[in-house]
């Protein structure tokens, strides 16, 4: 699992590449907790390279969503493949982290 960071129009973009499973999810958790600790409250997840999210993975994403919501910030994602979208819908995660088709759509929110 690789995580790349960039910034655009006031949003921190975290590009997630690989699989979020029991082994790799703690890396994502650590990263998100770190950036929130640094004061980031507007985060977009670039999921173009995200292959899969397991139950351990969506726990981290729920946690991130609620932490951001508590701070009155915003979180969204884009570039979600069919497999990951299915998991988002099954776990009702899409109601907490809105899914956009493209980065442009996400930025317009």
């Amino acid at each position: 699992m690789d995580i790349f960071e960039s910034r655009k129009e006031g949003w921190l973009i975290l590009e997630l590449k690989g699989r979020m499973d029991a082994i790799t999810s703690p890396l994502v958790r650590e990263k998100i907790a770190f950036v929130i600790g640094q004061g980031e409250t507007r985060i977009l997840l670039d999921c173009l390279g995200l292959e899969y999210v397991s139950s351990a993975g969506f726990r981290i994403l729920f946690e991130a969503a609620y932490n951001i919501q508590d701070l009155k910030g915003g979180i969204g994602c884009y570039g979600v493949n069919a497999n990951v979208r299915k998991i988002f819908n099954m776990a009702d995660l899409a109601s907490e982290i809105p899914i956009f088709n493209t980065q442009e759509e996400a930025l317009q929110g």
Partner: protein
């Protein structure tokens, strides 16, 4: 896990066998004092053995697989539902479907489909479906749930096949997640007539 099971059992007694209501109640109980943000995913099904009606609800669990008596396999579509222990808001839907005699329902954790082999990647849904289809009567290795053999053998055979399939797929590679597999075969009235319970 032990607490979750106890809460689900207790909720089941109070909520009149309605999976959606049971999940909602158990969720509220689990949220109480859950500072560690621990959660569980649940597929909760209740089978009426007289009618074959399966009522079920889902809390972010992977879809179970329905295997009919001919060995055809189908992923059961589940209503969306958050894991238990995550948030107070939101409900859990109850759905229904009728099982026919000889149908088997295989429920499993994502540790099955996530099992990894360094050389071959992940076990995956397609490989699992393919394994189950290979046990169909058409392939001559049926679990034969309606044969005179003890009917529970059909369900046990599916479970053994899945565990064996995953083990052999992973070979020496360590697995990343725990694995649980449960299979229930619906017998209908055929076995009652024959005096088999």
């Amino acid at each position: 896990m032990a607490r979750s099971k106890a809460l689900l059992r207790s909720a089941a007694q109070e909520e009149h066998a309605d999976p959606g209501r049971i999940l909602k109640k158990a969720n509220l109980e689990l949220l109480d004092g859950n500072e560690m943000f621990m959660f569980i995913t649940v597929f909760l099904g209740i089978l009426n053995v007289r009618t074959g009606e399966l009522t079920y609800g889902n809390a972010a669990h992977v879809s179970p697989i329905l295997i009919d008596k001919e060995g055809r396999c189908e992923l059961v579509e589940l209503p969306p539902g958050k894991p238990l222990g995550i948030r107070k808001q939101g409900g859990y839907e109850t759905q229904r479907r009728l099982l026919l005699p000889g149908d088997s329902l295989l429920v499993f954790t994502d540790g099955v489909t996530e099992a990894e082999s360094g050389a071959k990647g992940f076990y995956g849904e397609e490989r699992l479906l393919s394994l189950l289809r290979s046990l169909s009567p058409a392939n001559g290795t049926a679990a034969a749930p309606l044969s005179p053999a003890p009917p529970a053998a059909g369900a046990a055979r599916y479970v053994e096949a899945v565990l064996g399939g995953v083990k052999s797929f992973c070979a020496a590679d360590p697995r990343s997640d725990d694995i649980a597999v449960v299979c229930v075969s619906y017998l209908g009235n055929e076995y009652k007539k024959k005096g088999i319970s």
